[in-house]
């Protein structure tokens, strides 16, 4: 009842781990698959060279969510093969997230992750906290189109484009990615935000500003998915603030084929994927549906 298919990839349930949550470590990804119950796992965004990321504090908890600025820390693509090998022992599809500072980097890293055996590539053109990487591309139709096109030339795997609501017109970006050959759209990444301490008068995050995630961004993410799903033909993966089965169902109704969960791990632990899946199943049963597919996009009709 919970199985879904995404670009030819079969998922045992529609919950995926979002990029950047526990995703630098193969051992953690495997645990999210085995004990957590995720239907698929997305790795941390990987780049060409090792990056230490931003100085601590890298996260600050606020009412309704989290502001984080890890700064794309990662060991670089050369060292990441081992982690993917371990992650695959989890027995669920592994999606390799890629970021870059230029088209060539995106393509080179994506090609290598394909060699390591990932099941799909997710292009991070959504991350807002590192100068000219990530969202730098996702803010522009032209650059988004170009990134997807260059990566599609080099890999045969399905390619997802992960978008940011920080873009002026996220629907236009989604269409540009679809035109360039993207196989799916993930929406959305964290939103630029900050927190200032009243006593010291200083921003708390080492990077001063960070990305807002968690329940407080859900209504924005839902609106994005709804608007994108109305305009594109490729599958949309919903992400942003999902912590319960009811949240996930809302995204399905808005047109998402699957959902990603990140910050929810903080509130409900690593087994959140099992819990949300169970809650989705209960909703489907109570309302007389026999599959997730039956409710995808109902709100759009």
């Amino acid at each position: 009842m919970l199985e879904v298919e995404l670009c030819g990839i079969k998922l045992r349930n529609p919950t995926m781990l979002a990029s950047g949550i526990l995703g630098t470590s193969g051992a953690a990804l495997k645990r999210v698959a085995l004990s957590g119950g995720a239907g698929a796992i997305v790795t941390k965004s990987i780049g060409l060279t090792p990056r230490e990321g931003h100085r601590n504090p890298t996260v600050v908890e606020i009412n309704g969510g989290l502001i984080s600025a890890i700064g794309l820390a990662n060991p670089g693509y050369e060292e990441f093969g081992d982690e993917i090998r371990v992650a695959k022992e989890g027995g669920v599809p592994v999606i390799g997230s890629v970021y870059g500072f230029n088209f060539g980097e995106y393509a080179a890293v994506a090609e290598t992750l394909q060699k390591y055996g990932v099941d799909a590539i997710e292009l991070n053109i959504s991350y807002p906290n590192v100068g000219k990487a990530g969202a730098f591309f996702g803010y522009s139709e032209e650059l988004s189109h170009e990134v997807v096109k260059e990566v599609k030339k080099r890999v045969s795997l399905p390619v997802f484009a992960k978008l940011t609501a920080g873009a002026g017109d996220i629907v236009a970006i989604a269409k540009a990615c679809e035109d360039a050959g993207a196989d799916a759209i993930t929406a959305i990444g964290a939103l630029r935000a900050m927190k200032i301490d009243l006593i010291t008068g200083k921003p708390i995050l080492g990077n001063e500003v960070g990305g807002l995630s968690g329940p407080c961004i859900k209504p924005i993410a839902l609106r994005c998915v709804y608007e994108i799903a109305r305009e594109v033909d490729i599958p949309v993966i919903g992400c942003g603030g999902i912590t319960t089965g009811e949240d996930a169902v809302e995204f399905f109704l808005a047109g998402a084929r699957a959902v990603q969960i990140g910050t929810g791990v903080l509130y409900r632990g690593i087994t959140i994927f099992k819990k949300v899946s169970q809650e989705i199943k209960e909703y489907l049963e109570e309302n007389g549906y026999s599959s997730v597919d039956e409710i995808v996009g109902l709100a759009l009709r």
Binding site: G20, I21, L22, G23, T24, S25, G26, A27, A28, K30, R31, K44, P50, R51, E52, G53, R55, N56, P57, T58, V59, V60, E61, I62, N63, L66, S68, I70, A73, N74, P75, G76, E79, V86, D197, I199, T200, K202, I204, G206, G262, T263, V265, L266
Partner: protein, 265 residues
Amino acid sequence: MHEMQVVKIKKIIKETKRIKTFILDLDVSAIPGQFVMVWLPGVDEKPMSVSYTKGDLGITVLRLGDFTRRLFELSPGDMLGIRGPMGRGFKVYGDKLLLVGGGVGVAPLAPLAEEALAEGKEVTAIIGAITKSELLFVDRIEKAGGRVLISTDDGSAGKKGFTTDVLRELLEEETFDQCFTCGPEIMMAKVLDITREKKIPTQASLHRYFKCGIGICGQCVLDGIGLRVCKEGPTFRDKELRKSPEFGRYWRNAAGQKIYFGGKK
């Protein structure tokens, strides 16, 4: 939710030439072995074990690099940001306890000793340091009624050598219900080897590079077992650690690259 609380430093105690205790204006009840994230505004934020777990929170810091050097420049009245206490503390079983602490690793063991002694348990602590003047919390544990055995690398106090040398000798004579250890990882790995032979269940408090401190970034995850040092740890059972090929061999830097202890692969 672990909101950042910015609090005043009430008191600073110079423990040794390179170790200071900071008592904060923050009332807590922590379990020994838990940690807090300590924010020095404008500088950085790092994990520190709670060394005073009841009443005013205390941390005990070894001066090492830039962050701790900046901490050492602070005076009472200055402010620090605190998230926590967080993580899993030590869990005490049995009545006859053995503690093995190296260097600043004694920080989480001292409150454990005090609490156990107050409950009428028997505590023996092996405390090691490079030299006599760097020994931490010997008086504190003795005052609470514990027995302390000492080792120093240079032989200026107690046995010349390592805590593990003292441990080996002690376990020829005596046995214990539980062992608790904190210190350099190579030392803890040896402690685990020795207590395994003697069938003494052991808990160790691990140190890994922390970023989020709340179990979501994945920076501190141990290979083999996938457990997060900041969430399922920092204290672990011996049987958990034996399943990790990483324990005693390597850690990961801020980029997530493996760094081998002692520089060898």
